[in-house]
């Protein structure tokens, strides 16, 4: 009974939906979507960032880059790659941690055993933390 009743109601809703689609002018809802969730830190990656993303989140926090380079702002480089790069939705609340000078990211990347592109990681963390 419950199932039959539910399916009838869904069929009615489907009819309403189709009618509404025919008589209503369609508009883009992407901007609304991104605006709605901006406060929750839910933002789109750029296509170029998406392509490089698997490598950028590959850090295993072995700490070798810390020997090759210093800190990014107040944060150790392995922490930036392992912790901040986890794309916490609330990275904006932690922007003070990564403000300041960059270390020698080229030397750090050369020391990485799993090939994390640390310069790109630093750039995306800065972008996301600035909101």
């Amino acid at each position: 009974m419950g199932r039959a009743d539910s399916l009838v109601k869904l069929a009615w809703a489907y009819g309403l939906h189709q009618t509404r689609r025919r008589i209503t002018r369609q508009r883009s809802e992407l901007t609304d979507l991104l605006d709605t969730y901006a406060a929750d830190g839910i933002r789109a990656l750029e296509p170029a960032e998406r392509e490089r993303h698997p490598g950028m989140v590959g850090c295993i926090n072995c700490g070798l880059c810390a020997f090759a380079a210093g800190r990014m702002g107040r944060s150790r480089l392995p922490d930036v790659a392992a912790s901040y790069m986890r794309l916490y939705a609330r990275l904006g609340a932690a922007s003070s941690d990564v403000e300041g000078d960059d270390p020698d990211l080229g030397a750090a990347a050369a020391a990485c055993p799993v090939g994390v592109p640390l310069a790109e990681v630093a750039a995306i963390v800065r972008r996301l933390s600035q909101g």
Binding site: D40, E51, G58, C62, Y84, A94
Partner: protein, 535 residues
Amino acid sequence: MSPSSAHDVCVIGGGVTGAGIARDLCLRGLSVLLLEKGDWGGGTSGASSWMIHGGPRYLEFDWDTTRTSTKDAGYIVSIARNLVYRVVFLIPVLPHDRNNIERMETAMEVYDRFQPLKKAHPHRRLSRAEALQAEPGLTPDLIGAVTMEEWGVDPHRLVYANVQDAVAHGARALNHTRVVDLVRDGGKVIGVRYRGPDGVISEARARVVVNATGPWSPEVSGMAGVPVQLRPAKGIHIIYPHRISNFSISAESIDGRDLLMVSHSGFTLLGTTDDDFYGDLDSIDVLQDEVDYLLQGIERVFPTIRRYRPVRTTTGVRPTLYKWRRYEDELSRRYEVIDHAGEGVEGFVTIAGGKLSMYRLMAEQTSDAVCRKLGHQAPCTTATRPLPGNESDVEPPADLARRCGVPALAAVKLQTRHGSNAGKVLEEGGTGRLLCRCEPITEAELTFATRHEQVRSLADAFRRVGLAGGPCAGAACVMRAGEVIGHELGWSASQRFEAVREFVQGSWLGRAPVLGHAGWVQEEMAQGAMRGLKA
């Protein structure tokens, strides 16, 4: 045997349902003993998809269930603000999917009617180009997408928050304590016999004993000589230690089931499988076939998934009610409060079935049944009474970080676990030095958890504070964590090393099915460090 204690109610099972029942009964003024054989939330609750959702799938079966579960999700979101966060799904529609985009949007339009009950936003519909702009990693084959909002939650902290509040209102709660028998007087259950972590057997008397042990329910009810029949269902998840996308993504498996790639606060959970399980509930393996099944399903809508490095798997068994039929989602959501007086056993109640999203309601209805048996008249208050850490708003994380000398990100994460009590945790625990840098976790928090939150092992620390849950999988932090816990509990050097060895060995079972190149690099380094120490 140590002397017995006496309580109004003994609740067996420290998952979210058992903890919720203990809290509910304590708030109604009853004295409660809560017993858990492992750690709080260490069974089915912790192996869930970490979501409080309203259940759009029930729209095909019973709209009242959608309304009820959405309403209850709204209560949980209100009482546990620090533990929840929005999870926004992109549901891409491909040419040969079971539902075309019009049907999919119709379902979301109906679901939108219930979304305000859980403080969620209505759906959006995206064209192909818009969907790819929102998530460039989606397959270019898609026709379009709709969105759907749910809530993510840390189930381990949710369970513990319920335990914590129960204790604050008079409950006695013991983890690592296994019930070995029920005490009976003729046809009546009058208490339990249990073995504590030190191996000592104790006895507790209770006017009512509640069996809230999830998939272990048949085993416990067997002690009372009454049957509880379940159809246990095994589910696995693959865990990635970072957000793959800011959006969660839904996909269809090869056999037409819904799979989810869920973006949680700092990790991605991909699942789940749903298979009948007949094995040992205390020893569940993840099979390579199950991993491949999930990857195959998600790869169809998110083609680069295999380029990401999973760090571990989780597995658990759902306590699905028994029914002789094909698995459907309709089957997995039902629950039942069983008063065994009808079978000639007084003083014994079982709560069977159900799921995380409805735990509060299940706890309320079970507590109602217990109160009826005891003739106790007190209303349930768990729908509106905040869980610990939610009594007031949290301070800005940057202020907390500055005041306590920790990184702002550590303050953010601390507040997600402790809410407005975060400052108290840092102040009492001592040093704000980072212990687990991936999460990040301070030594102060682990010290606090050991002193006040019943952490007795590194695995307990994983559940309570998220230790070793990040990209390093514990390689960089478990040794130091063993030192911190060992210092608090008075462990010797060999006990500390043994605790670390036990944790690494336990983790390995979940890591082995998904180790790739980088995973092996990490294992080599971690094992090297261990061998170095041992030498």
